[in-house]
Point group: C2
Chain length 501, copies 2
C-alpha cells in the first residue's frame, strides 16, 4: 500500500454485550408473552447454529457464515454450535462440538469450553453431546421440559427455518409456534449497539462506493468495479463477507434488478455514455449494509441521464423527508411512485393525469420492485409481514417486502428506481388501460437506457429518521467526486448521549 491509506476507517471492536442484550430482549419478550397467556415461565429456548457445507460431492469447503437467528442471539462465528436460554432463570448456554484430536493438526487449536465462555459471554459452555443431560438436569419443574424451537416462515424466501435436532430431543416437549414471531420481532427493532455496527458497515461501504466511482473508467469490466469494492471493504474495513452478491450493472444491464449472479456475472465492458448502477454493501460481524449508487461511467451526466437520475433522487429524498414512526410503508412506496411519475411527465416521457396513472398502477412499469426492506443481519431482514398479514396484490405493491407501519429503531432501505424494462414496457405500450399515458417517441428514445436506482439505509428515530449511507447523491456532488474532489464521511455515533436514537 502507498504510505497514505485510501481509507479513514479501521474495524471497530465487537461488543459481545450486543448479543447479551439481544438475549435479554428475547427473554423479556418471551416471558411477557407467556405471562399474558398464563403459561408457566419454564423451559428453554433452543437454537441450532449453522453447519459448514461442502460443494457437491467434493471436499471443497464453502466459507461458513452463521445462520442469522443464531448469530443474533449468540454472535458465534464457528459452525456446529447449539445455544439455549433458560426461560426460568435467563441463564444462557452454548454447546460446542467435541472436536477430534486431529482437528489440532488440520484446523487449529482445540479450545476448551472456558475459551468460548470468555469469548461469547454466556453463562456456561458445554459440549453438544451433553445437551440432553444438561437440560434435563437444569429443569426444575415437573414433566418433560419444554423446548421453544425456531419454526416459522421467512416471507422473502417463502421457506421455513430448519428445525433443531439433537440426540435425545424425544425426551422433551417442543413448542414450534411461540418463538419465531417473538424472536423475529426482537430483530426488527435495532438496539444502539446493533445500529453502531450497521452504521460502520454503511460507513466503510459508502467510502468504498466513492473509491469505485473515482476509479471507474470507460473500457473497464463491470467485475473490476466489484473487485475494487470488495477489496476496499475487506482490506481497510475488515469485512470478509458482503451482504449479497455485488450488482455491477452498466448500460442496459442496469434494468436487470438482480444482475450480477452466475448467469449474468458482471462481465460487460463499460461503454462511453453508459450509466452504472452499483448495488453493493459490506457486512461486519453479521450486520450488513445495502447501498446503491448510480452514475455515468464517464463522470458527466447527459441531459437524459440527469432527468432520470433527478426523478429517482427526488423520490428518495421525498420518502426520507416523510419517514417517521407510524407512517405506512405502502404509502411511502406510493409517494416514491408519484414523484417519479410526476418527473417523467415533466420530462415529457409521460402525458396525462398523475392521479389516473397512480390508479392504473403505472408506477409499477417503471419501478417493479418494492421501495425497500428491513435490513440487519440479513439483507432482507425478517419481520416484514406479521403473521396473518396479507401481501398487497396490485402490481408493484405485491413486490413490497413489508407493508408495515414504521417503528422507531427499524432500519429499512429506501431504494426507489426507474427502469426501462422491455418485458414490462412493451406490454404496457399495448395495454388499453395505460397506453394513453406514454409519449412513444420519447419512451422509445430511452428504451436502451437501462435504469437508475438510489438506495440508502435509513434508521427510524422517535421523530423522523437518519440516513446512514453517506454517498454523494446530488449530481454536482457525484461529478465533483468523480473529478477528484474530496468526499467527507462524517461519522454518526449512536452510542453517545442518552443512549437512544
Amino acid at each position: 500500500m502507498a504510505s497514505s491509506s485510501p481509507s479513514s476507517m479501521s474495524p471497530p471492536m465487537i461488543p459481545m454485550e450486543l448479543h447479551s442484550l439481544n438475549r435479554e430482549k428475547l427473554f423479556n419478550s418471551l416471558r411477557d408473552h407467556l405471562t399474558s397467556c398464563a403459561r408457566p415461565l419454564q423451559g428453554f429456548v433452543l437454537l441450532q447454529g449453522g453447519e459448514e457445507q461442502t460443494r457437491h460431492c467434493t471436499d471443497h469447503l464453502e466459507l461458513f457464515r452463521q445462520e442469522s437467528y443464531f448469530a443474533y442471539l449468540f454472535g458465534v462465528e464457528e459452525p456446529g454450535f447449539y445455544g439455549t436460554i433458560d426461560i426460568a432463570s435467563g441463564k444462557s448456554m452454548l454447546f460446542i462440538p467435541r472436536l477430534p484430536v486431529d482437528y489440532a493438526v488440520w484446523m487449529g487449536k482445540i479450545q476448551p469450553p472456558s475459551h468460548f465462555q470468555e469469548k461469547y459471554k454466556v453463562t456456561q459452555v458445554l459440549y453438544t453431546d451433553e445437551i440432553k443431560d444438561v437440560l434435563l438436569d437444569h429443569y426444575h419443574a415437573t414433566g418433560a421440559p419444554l423446548l421453544f424451537l425456531l419454526h416459522g416462515l421467512n416471507t422473502d424466501s417463502n421457506k421455513y427455518s430448519k428445525l433443531a435436532e439433537f440426540q435425545g430431543i424425544e425426551k422433551f416437549q417442543t413448542d414450534l409456534n411461540t418463538l419465531h414471531p417473538i424472536l423475529t420481532e426482537c430483530r426488527v427493532i435495532k438496539s444502539n449497539l446493533e445500529l453502531a455496527l450497521i452504521q460502520y458497515a454503511n460507513d466503510i461501504s459508502s467510502e468504498a462506493h466513492v473509491e469505485v466511482m473515482r476509479k471507474t473508467k470507460v473500457g473497464m469490466k463491470e467485475y473490476q468495479l466489484e473487485s475494487m469494492f470488495l477489496h476496499h471493504t475487506y482490506m481497510y474495513g475488515g469485512c470478509r463477507h458482503c451482504s449479497y452478491t455485488c450488482i455491477c450493472a452498466t448500460g442496459d444491464n442496469s434494468a436487470v434488478l438482480h444482475y450480477g449472479h452466475a448467469a449474468a456475472p458482471n462481465d460487460k465492458t463499460l461503454q462511453e455514455g453508459d450509466m452504472a448502477l452499483l448495488d453493493m454493501g459490506a457486512e461486519y460481524h453479521f450486520y450488513g449494509s445495502d447501498i446503491t449508487c448510480s452514475f455515468p461511467v464517464n463522470g458527466r451526466f447527459t441531459r437524459d441521464q440527469s432527468l432520470l437520475y433527478t426523478a429517482v433522487l427526488d423520490a428518495h429524498d421525498a420518502v426520507i423527508s416523510a419517514m417517521r414512526p407510524g407512517v405506512s410503508w405502502v404509502d411511502m412506496h406510493k409517494l416514491a411512485e408519484r414523484v417519479i411519475l410526476e418527473s417523467l411527465k415533466k420530462g415529457n416521457l409521460l402525458v396525462g393525469d398523475v392521479d389516473k396513472m397512480m390508479a392504473e398502477r403505472l408506477g409499477a412499469v417503471f419501478m417493479p420492485h418494492g421501495l425497500g426492506h428491513l435490513l440487519g443481519i440479513d439483507t432482507h431482514d425478517p419481520g416484514g409481514y406479521l403473521k396473518g398479514a396479507e401481501r398487497p396484490k396490485e402490481p408493484g405493491l405485491s413486490s413490497l417486502r413489508t407493508s408495515r407501519k414504521l417503528l422507531k429503531g427499524m432500519v429499512i432501505t429506501v431504494e426507489p428506481g426507474c427502469y426501462f424494462i422491455d418485458a414490462l414496457l412493451l406490454p404496457a405500450l399495448e395495454s388499453p388501460a395505460v397506453s394513453e399515458f406514454f409519449n412513444r417517441v420519447e419512451i422509445n428514445r430511452f428504451r436502451a437506457f437501462g435504469g437508475v436506482r438510489i438506495e440508502s439505509d435509513v434508521c427510524v428515530t422517535s421523530s423522523g429518521c437518519v440516513n446512514m449511507s453517506k454517498c454523494p447523491r446530488k449530481i454536482e456532488e457525484i461529478e465533483a467526486v468523480m473529478a477528484g474532489a474530496p468526499w467527507p464521511i462524517e461519522k454518526t455515533t449512536f452510542l453517545s448521549g442518552n443512549g437512544q436514537v
Copy 2:
C-alpha cells in the same frame, strides 16, 4: 488505478472446443469400455448440473459455481441445466430451465435455446421439461433406453455424487456403475486446452503472490494479504472464484494446515520475526491453481528460517527433479520426507540414522499431510484412488490423496512442508520408538516457529515434468522481490508445436 497496471496479464478467451474435446474423450472411452464388455453402444450419458443455493431459510443467494463433472463436460456457467451425450451417435444435448416471465425483470434476458447452442457448442438445446420425451424419441434400439448416471465415491470427501433426477426417469433403465470411473479417469489426464487454463490460473496467481509478498508489512492483518490476492486475481485476472478459501497463516498459525476457515479466519496481526505461509490459488473458467509461498514478513530470513525453508525447498526441488511417468507418488512422498529429515539432522534438530527415522515414520511428525494431490476443476481433483485401490495405512502416507503412479498429462501439486505441531510433536517426544531422534534443546527452540510449506502445480510430461507455478522460490529471490526487485513471469504455452506437451 495508476496508469501503469500492476499486472502483465489479461483474461484469455475461453475455448469451448475444450469441452467438446472432453465429451469426445468420454464418448470414446465409454464406447471402448462397452465394446470390451460386449455391451451394445446404446443409451445416454446423463448429468444434472448444479442448482443455486440459498442460505438457511433466507432468500440470500450464494454465488453459484457449477458442479465439477458437469463443468468438465459442458462448461456451463448457469444453474439448473441437464446435459446428455448419445452413446450411439455422440450427439450432445443441453436442457435448460424454462424460465418464468418475470425472470426478465429480476434476473436478466430470457435467452432462447439457440443462444446456448451457440454459446456451448452442443448439438442441440432443449428445455428440462422435455428430457423424457426427447430421449425416448432419440432412442432407436428396443426396450427402455439406458441412462449412464454419475454415481461414485469421491475419495477426498468420502461422499457420493448426487444421482440425477428428472420427471419421467422411471421410463428408463439406469446404469450407476459404468460412468463414474471412466469419466473420472478422463479428468485425470489433462488436454492441452485444459493445461492452458490451468497455466493461466497459475500465472495470474503467481503474479498475485509476488504482489502480496511485496506489500506485506509487519503490523498488517493476515486477511489484508488475502484481500490483496483476491483483488489482484479478480481485478486483473478476471477470476471471480478461488480454488479454495485463502490460507494466510503467520507465526504459529502456519502450523495449522487448513487455517483460514471461519473458525480461524486469517485475523492475526503480523509480528516482527514471523514467517508467513500463504496458500492461495485463483480459478479461471472452472480450472484452478493451488500455490503456497512461505516467507518472512519483514523480508529477511533469519538463520532458523533459512534452515527450515531450505529443508522444504530442497524436498520440493528433489521431487520435481524425480517426477516422470511411471514414478510412484508414494515414493515421491518418501523422497520429500527423507530430504527434510536429512536437513533437520544436518541442522542439528535431529540425531541418528535417517533410514531408521524413515522406518519409524518420523517424517509424518513434521509433514502430516500428503505430498500433493491431483489438480484441475477441483482443487482436490478426483481419481486419486482407482476403484479397489487401498489407502496406505502408515502415518503420513495415510493422508496421501493419491498413491498412483504418475501418468503423462496429470497435474499434481508438489507441496512438501515442515511444521512444529504440538499435537504431534509432544507425543513423539515421549514415544519410545522415536524420542531418541530428537535434539530436545533445538526442537524446543523451534516449538513456536509454526511451519513452512512450498507448493507448486506440476504437469507430468512424456519425459519429466513442468512446474507451472512461477513464484520466487530461492531465498535470495524472495528477499530481492520483497526489497522491490522485478519478477519476471515467463509464459508457458501449451498450445504451440505439435499440440502435445
